[in-house]
């Protein structure tokens, strides 16, 4: 469904991604794990078109999407819930969700999806007329995911959905992610909490300083000694 | 690497010595010709030595950028015109006259700048070819350049400074503080504020005005003038209802005019110039309902220009009274009338009031230069300018007094009629 071929991305002079190739199939949850600064977020940003690659190709459903501006990539069916949530603090929860559906024009469908988001995150319904900035961290994360879903994406990019959340919320969020996936959305998950990520993902890639060093099924990665030592904290 | 350093240092030292002593040769006089004079003749040795130089220079220093540009254009045009009429020569064509139009404004500031005026004055002072300095435009600028040029003994003829203190006692210490050499070097062809302000108040009395509201533009010229007006008005028994300084940059004066309207004046006097929003003032005065029939408007020569009527609009400006330190160009007879026609033909537009002053300043300068042909030095020219007596210029026949002020006390009163300035009467 999505394919990255030898992607090189730069920030100024910094060579952030040094030839990344990966693929995600329809209906999968794929996770990227790696240390801070390994290039996980950059990979997502590259796919979303926020930081276009300098070299290499990104293929989405066999269409080359590198070079397409970010706002048009959303229309193709890829949406992202960015790291740090990045909700719009001065818009209400409902307006935030509406922004998620910015590229769409079917009123009916938007209403349905809004309903779906509220069902997924009942807390948001309670707060629908509250401003985004007043939500707590967990609620903001829910809002960010809900907002990303509003574009009715075929592929959802999640960047650190568990960051800074209480353990009880982390469990919930991951449950919901699985739930979304089961409803048919392909998911690319970037996660610091490698244990959790690998427990719900089908496959995973390990990134190290802008390069993919390991690629395997989630189960195999969990058993990999190097992964255990570096990312799972198991001695 | 030490080798490199010492090499460099040695070379720099060598170079600096070269620069320092390389040019000792040509003249021993420290200041010779430089700026401005090089067009044809760069070699004129120190101009104040005896003999007749090939060319001399007249400079003017006026704000050529920013909002005073319109005024100074007319002055420069008139000066150029006068010089052209003399074929750019003096002493029966023997000596060429160069003219340099200096700008005492800066782009960034958009108005005259003290340092720039000082620079102009210093440059003029150092260039011994410069024998006459026309300007500056603003009285404030004059306070800076007079002392500088006074020490250089270079004569100044201002077409537009009216601050009293430049030539006569006004503020403590004035005018002597401006003349460190003790000798007067500054003249002006325009009557000073004390004459014009008082004449305005007298005229107001003649017009039957009983109460007056005074405004000024909070600048040297306007404020000085309006203060004199106020004093004279009180002496004449008029009621002064109030005196405000306006913000010259405001977009409208409706509130101010509401306030004035409530005091019911017969006349509003504005001390200021067109550029400081005189037009807007009149416009708003009319728009809050003070009609020409009820309330008169009077201003000084700072608004005696086409631009004032244009800015105020013909309807609003209608009936405004304007005082002017001389006879208006159109009413000039003889020489004046001739000049008026020439100017219109040459530049395709009405000459403004200041054009006449600029022309007169250039005329006085040429006159004095022509009288100094035997010895073209600053000193002679200075003396001859001060000795201008019964000069028949476009402004009338007049002389300089010992202060450098014009003896022209005959002022004229104008009124805007049918969108044009109409001469009404002479005033004193």
């Amino acid at each position: 469904m999505l394919q990255l071929n030898d992607i090189h991305t730069y920030y100024g002079n910094i060579h952030a991604l040094k030839g990344i190739s990966l693929h995600i199939d329809q209906g999968e949850i794929v996770t990227l794990i790696g240390a801070n600064g390994a290039g996980k977020s950059t990979t997502l940003r590259t796919i979303s078109g926020i930081t276009p690659p300098r070299r290499g190709r990104v293929l989405f459903e066999d269409q080359e999407i590198n070079g397409i501006p970010a706002h048009n990539i959303v229309k193709l069916g890829i949406s992202q819930s960015p790291e740090g949530r990045h909700i719009f603090p001065n818009l209400t929860v409902r307006e935030n969700l509406e922004m998620g559906a910015f590229t769409r024009n079917d009123k009916q469908g938007i209403e349905e999806d809004m309903e779906r988001a509220f069902n997924l995150f009942p807390r948001l319904r309670e707060r629908s007329s509250q401003r985004g900035g007043t939500l707590s961290g967990g609620e903001q994360q829910m809002l960010a995911i809900g907002r990303a879903l509003m574009a009715r994406p075929r592929m959802l990019l999640l960047d650190e959905p568990s960051m800074g959340l209480a353990p009880v919320l982390v469990d919930q969020i991951f449950e919901i992610v699985q739930n979304i996936n089961e409803q048919g959305t392909t998911i690319l998950l970037v996660e610091q909490n490698a244990l959790m990520a690998l427990s719900i993902a089908h496959r995973g890639y390990v990134l190290q300083t802008g390069e993919i060093v390991l690629a395997d099924s989630a189960a195999a990665l969990r058993d990999n000694e190097m992964v255990q030592k570096a990312y799972l904290g198991i001695e | 690497m030490k080798r490199w350093i010492s090499l460099m240092v040695t070379m720099v030292l060598l170079l600096s010595t070269l620069l320092a002593c390389g040019t000792e040769t040509p003249t021993e006089a420290p200041a010779t010709s430089a700026s401005g004079s090089t067009t044809d003749n760069a070699t004129q040795p120190a101009g104040n030595t005896a003999g007749t130089p090939e060319s001399i220079t007249i400079v003017s220093s006026l704000p050529r950028t920013g909002s005073s540009k319109g005024q100074t254009d007319t002055i420069v045009n008139a000066i150029r015109m006068r010089l052209e009429e003399a074929d750019n020569t003096i002493c029966e064509g023997k000596v060429k006259v160069n003219y340099e139009d200096m700008d005492d404004a800066t782009a960034a500031k958009g108005a005259w700048d003290e340092a720039k005026e000082a620079e102009n004055a210093q440059n003029a002072a150092q260039d011994q070819n410069v024998l006459v300095y026309i300007g500056p435009f603003n009285s404030g600028a004059a306070k800076i350049s007079i002392p500088i040029l006074n020490q250089a003994g270079l004569v100044m003829i201002s077409p537009s400074n009216t601050a009293v203190g430049l030539t006569k006692p006004f503020d403590p210490g004035e005018p002597d503080v401006y003349y460190p050499s003790g000798k007067r070097t500054y003249t002006r062809v325009i009557p000073s504020d004390d004459l014009q302000g008082a004449a305005g108040a007298n005229w107001a009395k003649e017009l039957g005005v009983e109460s007056v509201y005074i405004l000024d533009d909070n600048e040297l010229y306007g404020k000085g003038l309006s203060n004199v007006f106020e004093k004279q008005a009180k002496a004449n028994g008029l009621t002064v209802l109030g005196h405000d300084s306006i913000d010259p940059k405001a977009s409208d004066y409706q509130a101010l005019m509401n306030k004035i309207k409530a005091t019911n004046p017969d006349l509003i006097y504005f001390g200021g110039i067109t550029q400081n929003n005189a037009g807007q003032l009149v416009k708003d005065m009319r728009s809050v309902g003070m009609t020409n029939a009820d309330v008169k408007f009077m201003g000084p020569d700072g608004i005696y220009e086409e631009a004032f009527i244009e800015a105020a609009g013909k309807d609003a400006a209608e009936g405004s009274y304007i005082t002017f330190g001389g006879v208006p160009p159109a009413k000039l007879t003889g020489k004046g009338a001739e000049w008026y026609a020439n100017y219109k033909a040459k530049f395709g537009s009405e000459p403004e009031a200041y054009a006449a002053y600029g022309y007169e300043a250039a005329s006085v300068a040429l006159n004095a230069l022509n009288q100094s042909c035997d010895s073209l030095t600053r000193e002679t020219v200075l003396n001859n300018v001060f000795n201008t007596k019964d000069f028949e210029g476009v402004l009338g026949t007049w002389s300089f007094d010992q202060n450098g002020d014009t003896t022209l006390t005959e002022l004229s009163g104008q009124q805007v009629t049918n969108g044009e300035f109409q001469y009404v009467q002479n005033i004193k």
Binding site: Y11 | T23, G110, A115, A118, G140, P172, V177, E219, G224
Partner: protein, 584 residues
């Protein structure tokens, strides 16, 4: 499309339109002119080595300088060479820091050579085209050359002198460039001191050059330097402490007025300048604290607007506290004062006391007195050296402040106010100190300016002054003293030297060529000055948004150096979170 081509096309279109509109009626002439300008645009945009680029950039300025002045004062090329060489080397070393003495010298010399070459080319252009166009005869020009150029008299012919002059230009530029390049190789404080020493050497040579070659530019340089002094002070507030101040002219005014009130006939006090300058600085510093105090709780642009407000209020106060108020006699009207009079009690009293000279300003102001040296309007040299001394002192003090505990606190404040607060830095005191120190140096500037011009007026301290000084600081490079100086030289040089002189020159040429007096007003170059000035500002920002000589740290924000590549990994982490970088 490559960037350079794009830049070239835009420059061509822009300058072509300008030239056409300006009055090069012949399409061909305008096109050729535009092409020449566009070539420079392309050169600057090409990925040339930094050395060449620095040289080009400064060289173009030297070129313009020489073209503007050389008809009247050909020796300007020497001055141009001095400045071009030093600044080209400085710029080159900012982008590519060398540590080896020899490499530094070569780099500096190369940059200087490029700059000097352009300056020298300008000489030939002037001699070949502009001199005849302005109606100066060859003989007259040769005479001028032989009189004003060192050793010129012994060479005789104008070709020889021009050749000698351009060789000298190139040589000086290279030499000073090399010297500067070498100084830049020394690390740390000593390196900075060395750079300043070389700058100082150039500055000290200016009066000698000026006198020997009859440039008569000292009096034009002095206001430029005063503004640089102001910019150095503002740099403390904006560059170090990160507080945007749009009303800096207020402190300049306060310094000048203090001087004016203490040493002029206005209050008949004639205190010694050497005392007054310190008082002026102290008063300005106090004003900095007083005006700074209410702004403390404000963030970012709110602070800016409040300072702007003060910048407006202070000159109004000076203007209105001039006594000689509209109403003649001292009356304290309480209730029911006659309706319509402008005054109410408090203001009536104020009107009577002439504190500031009002609209008439204060003049004359006493010059400094030193035995054996006359500070007069005719002799610029003592003024110049006095100003340079003040500048040296300023640089010295600011340099000390910057590396100190206080300086660190400012930087911390700029970087992250919350964290600074949490580190025990008293933000109130630190901000006030920044305002006070910034004001101090403008107090010096004001005192000098007042004494130098010998007159001050409320109009001298408009908003435009604040804006220009701010432009100098930002254009040069926030937080970097050398950058601020270069920025100041450029902006004030454009405003005070190049633009007016270019106008003169063009007027002269047009007059000679067309022999008419009445150009249509819109074709008078004077009328285009603001446009050109604004364009310079915009273009400079577009070319180097971080300023000409950015602070090393700020530079790193935009152009991460190669030598940090090993820490790429970590930087990347940061970059991902940095919205500035993320946009690339």
């Amino acid at each position: 499309m490559p960037k350079s081509l794009k830049v070239g096309i835009w420059t061509f279109i822009g300058s072509f339109l300008f030239l056409m509109f300006y009055g090069f009626q012949s399409v061909l002439v305008a096109a050729i002119g535009a092409l020449l300008i566009a070539i420079f645009g392309v050169l600057l945009a090409l990925p040339l080595p930094d050395v060449v680029k620095s040289g080009l950039l400064t060289g173009i300025i030297g070129l313009v300088f020489v073209i503007a002045y050389a008809v009247e004062r050909p020796a300007i090329a020497l001055l141009g060479a001095m400045i071009t060489g030093v600044s080209a080397a400085l710029m080159a070393s900012y982008r590519q820091h060398k540590t080896d003495l020899r490499a530094g010298a070569i780099q500096g010399a190369l940059a200087g050579a490029v700059g000097g070459a352009l300056t020298a080319i300008a000489l030939f252009l002037v001699w070949l085209y502009i001199v005849p166009a302005a109606g100066v005869t060859n003989i007259a020009y040769a005479k001028l050359l032989s009189e004003t150029i060192p050793l010129g008299a012994s060479l005789g012919s104008d070709v020889a002198i021009i050749g000698w002059l351009s060789a000298l230009t190139l040589l000086i530029s290279m030499l000073l460039g090399a010297l500067m390049g070498m100084a830049r190789t020394v690390e740390g404080v000593r390196g900075n001191l060395l750079s300043y020493a070389i700058l100082g050497l150039v500055v000290l040579l200016i009066p000698i050059l000026d006198r020997q070659t009859e440039l008569q530019l000292l009096n034009a340089f002095i206001p430029v330097f005063v503004f640089i002094l102001l910019a150095l002070g503002l740099n403390i507030v904006v560059g170090y402490a990160g507080l945007l101040d749009l009303g800096y002219a207020a402190f300049f005014a306060i310094g000048a007025y203090t001087t004016g009130m203490l040493s002029s006939p206005l209050h008949d006090t004639h205190w010694n300048f050497w005392l007054v300058i310190w008082i002026a600085a102290a008063v300005a510093a106090c004003a900095g604290v007083i005006l700074g105090a209410p702004t403390l709780p404000l963030r970012g642009d709110y602070l800016a607007i409040v300072t702007l407000g003060f910048g407006e209020i202070v000159p109004i106060l000076f203007r209105n506290l001039g006594g000689g108020g509209p109403n003649g006699s001292l009356t304290l009207k309480l209730f029911g004062g006659q309706l319509g009079t402008a005054d109410i009690a408090g203001f009536t009293v104020m009107d009577q006391v002439n504190l500031t000279g009002g609209v008439a300003g204060i003049n004359p102001i006493d010059p400094p007195k030193l035995p054996g040296i006359v500070f007069g309007p005719q002799n610029q040299v003592p003024w110049f050296y006095l100003l340079v001394a003040i500048m040296m002192l300023t640089l010295f003090l600011i340099n000390r402040l910057r590396g100190s505990r206080q300086g660190r606190a400012w930087t911390a404040l700029r970087e992250d106010e919350l964290a600074a607060d949490a580190m025990g830095i008293n933000t109130v005191r630190t901000k006030l100190l920044a305002f006070a120190m910034g004001a101090t140096f403008s107090g010096f500037a004001g005192a000098f300016y007042g004494a130098y011009v010998s007159a001050i007026f409320p109009t001298s301290f408009d908003f435009s002054v604040s804006i220009i000084v701010l432009c100098m600081v930002i254009l040069g490079g926030l937080g970097n003293m050398a950058g601020v100086i270069v920025g100041g030289l450029l902006i004030m040089g454009a405003d005070r030297l190049i633009l007016p002189q270019t106008s003169n020159l063009i007027r002269k040429v047009v007059q000679h060529q067309q022999n008419t007096l009445d150009l249509p007003t819109y074709r008078d170059i004077t009328q285009w000055r603001l446009l050109l000035f604004g364009m310079v500002l915009v273009l400079m920002m577009l070319v180097r948004p971080e300023g000409l000589l950015p602070n090393a740290r700020r530079r790193a924000e935009l152009h991460p150096d190669e030598d940090t590549a090993e820490q790429e990994n970590a930087t990347l982490f940061d970059a991902e979170r940095d919205p500035q970088l993320a946009g690339h």
